[in-house]
């Protein structure tokens, strides 16, 4: 989309910040969203002729606030008690106000409150902080628009009815409150990264949005190493996107990727963050995963990969996040370091019958051991469980190679 007047760019950069500040000023999410949208509607009319104001974010916040106050005054005059109450908080003379950085942090923590379901946290974050429209979010998550609209309406109602506060949690609450925020950004990114057909463009946008929000979060919480770790993980994963699909759209796995296609700028930035995290020495799951990605990024070819270091990092990850999926990835590192038989022994200790990557990993190890019939059976099982079209095509290719 061309954007000669810069309105779309300002919208993308400033929407979340402006909504966040208006939520604090007006005490109501719906009112804040409507006011910011109204202000952007005025901007679309005025800016092409008048040019961008010196501080577009402040212009939007001020315009939105004045619009909202005008509306509240009209409603208060009709004896709307809620509007009268909201007006009590407003100073009489509207002066210019700009977005406040802390407001954005407040809004992130409100959207990702643990009392909201993860699907609702994701939807609210994209809508309120990312400025994505409900139909866009619905398409990105492959759910009907009505379902997504209802999810957002319910989540907003819960925030209001249950009294979910608009506040940055105290230091002592961060261990409970920060993980869902990071999980939402990671989920948004992965949803976009899990490739595929049809909605591909929307989905690449999700990755960009997750990276943008992670950057904002690093700026807002510079002392939280896991926030930096998440950003590094996203950057290093994103750096491989150009090598991740073949021209015909099929998936290219890490060992087979053309590493000259990796985005060096993102690799350099991600690795620098990982080094800073190591110096800080307060490791956590996102930092360790980022470190693993950084080791891969260091290897000019797959054969140069330092698997001993990767295995050591997976051991560390297992200690802080002992999940079956981590154990599966650790088994892959074991296979690279000690051979497919050793890897298979590790895989066979796991119980992940419904996870397609469990079966495809097992199939790969069996194939490398020359046990082709068993490998074929495992690829078939993986095919039954996978849903993503690019993955299905990949697994079908593997299946025919062992038959």
């Amino acid at each position: 989309m061309t954007d000669p007047d810069g309105v779309a760019r300002v919208y993308r950069q400033e929407y979340g910040r402006c909504v966040a500040t208006l939520v604090r000023v007006l005490g109501d999410i719906d009112l804040a969203e409507e006011a910011v949208q109204e202000a952007f509607a005025v901007a679309i009319e005025r800016w092409p002729a008048a040019g961008l104001p010196p501080n577009p974010g402040a212009w939007i916040v001020t315009t939105a606030r004045n619009k909202a106050i005008d509306r509240l005054r009209r409603e208060a005059a009709r004896e709307d008690k809620h509007a009268q109450a909201a007006l009590l908080h407003q100073p009489d003379e509207p002066r210019e106000v700009g977005p406040v950085r802390d407001d954005q942090l407040r809004l992130i923590f409100t959207c990702c409150h643990p009392s909201l379901a993860p699907a609702a946290q994701v939807a609210l974050t994209l809508r309120l902080l990312g400025g994505l429209e409900t139909p866009e979010i619905a398409r990105a998550f492959l759910v009907p628009e009505a379902t997504m609209a209802q999810r957002i309406v319910r989540a907003k109602r819960k925030i209001k009815d249950a009294g979910i506060p608009y506040r940055i949690p105290a230091e002592a609450q961060l261990p409970d409150r920060l993980p869902p925020v990071l999980a939402v950004l990671y989920l948004v990114f992965n949803e976009g990264y899990a490739a595929s057909t049809g909605a591909e463009l929307v989905r690449a946008d999700l990755c960009a949005e997750a990276v943008r929000l992670a950057r904002e979060l690093v700026g807002l919480m510079p002392d939280e190493p896991e926030v930096a770790g998440l950003l590094a993980l996203l950057l290093l994963t994103e750096s491989r996107r150009p090598a991740r699909t073949a021209p015909d759209g099929t998936i290219v796995l890490l060992p087979d990727q053309d590493r000259t296609l990796w985005n060096r700028e993102l690799v350099t930035e991600g690795q620098a963050i990982v080094r800073a995290c190591l110096r800080r020495n307060r490791p956590g799951p996102y930092q360790i995963q980022a470190a693993i990605a950084a080791v891969h990024s260091d290897a000019p070819t797959a054969a140069d990969t330092d698997w001993a270091q990767i295995l050591a990092l997976y051991d560390q990850l297992t200690a802080v996040a002992p999940t079956a999926v981590v154990a599966l990835n650790r088994a892959v590192a074991v296979a690279e370091l000690h051979g497919p038989a050793a890897g298979l022994t590790e895989v066979d200790r796991l119980e992940l019958p419904a996870y397609h990557l469990f079966h495809s990993t097992r199939a790969d190890l069996l194939a490398r051991l020359g046990r082709r019939d068993e490998a074929a059976a495992e690829y078939e099982r993986a095919l039954e469980l996978a849903s993503n079209e690019a993955e299905l095509a990949f697994l079908a290719g593997r299946l025919s190679s062992v038959r």
């Binding site: 939520v23 005490g27 109501d28 008690k81 809620h82 109450a85 409150h113 009392s115 009815d161 249950a162 009294g163 979910i164 506060p165 608009y166 506040r167 949690p169 609450q173």
Partner: protein, 121 residues
């Protein structure tokens, strides 16, 4: 947002048929007593109490225009409402802080639900 006090229901969902040993039961009563006292001291406590066995319940419902009585509980499930608090709090986070103390004290999951706002007058 606005800082009007809201009321929250903290309901305790327990299993009646797996009783704690007597000394642990006594400890639980003591712990719950402490939470009650703290709620009272902080001006948070509105009402609360424990309920007797669910089989003591009677259900009343209208059938064909007349109230009909049946043996309770309303739904036969393993977990039943065992007791509850009604508290006042500024916001959900405050209510959840009390629920954390409550679930530790009564050794059972606690559900937090806001009451509907009373009509402004």
């Amino acid at each position: 947002m606005e800082t009007t006090m809201k009321q929250y229901l903290l309901s305790v969902h327990g299993t009646y048929d797996e009783q704690l040993p007597p000394d642990e039961m006594q400890q639980m009563f003591d712990d719950v007593g402490e939470v009650n006292q703290e709620m009272a001291d902080k001006g948070v406590w509105v009402f609360g109490g424990g309920l007797t066995h669910p089989s003591d319940a009677t259900v009343v419902r209208v059938e064909k225009g007349n109230p009909v009585l049946t043996d309770g509980p309303f739904v036969e499930t393993k977990e039943q409402l065992g007791g509850f608090w009604v508290i006042k709090a500024d916001d959900l986070d405050q209510a959840l802080d009390w629920a954390r103390k409550a679930t530790v004290a009564c050794r059972a999951p606690v559900e937090v639900r806001p009451f509907q706002e009373e009509a402004a007058d």
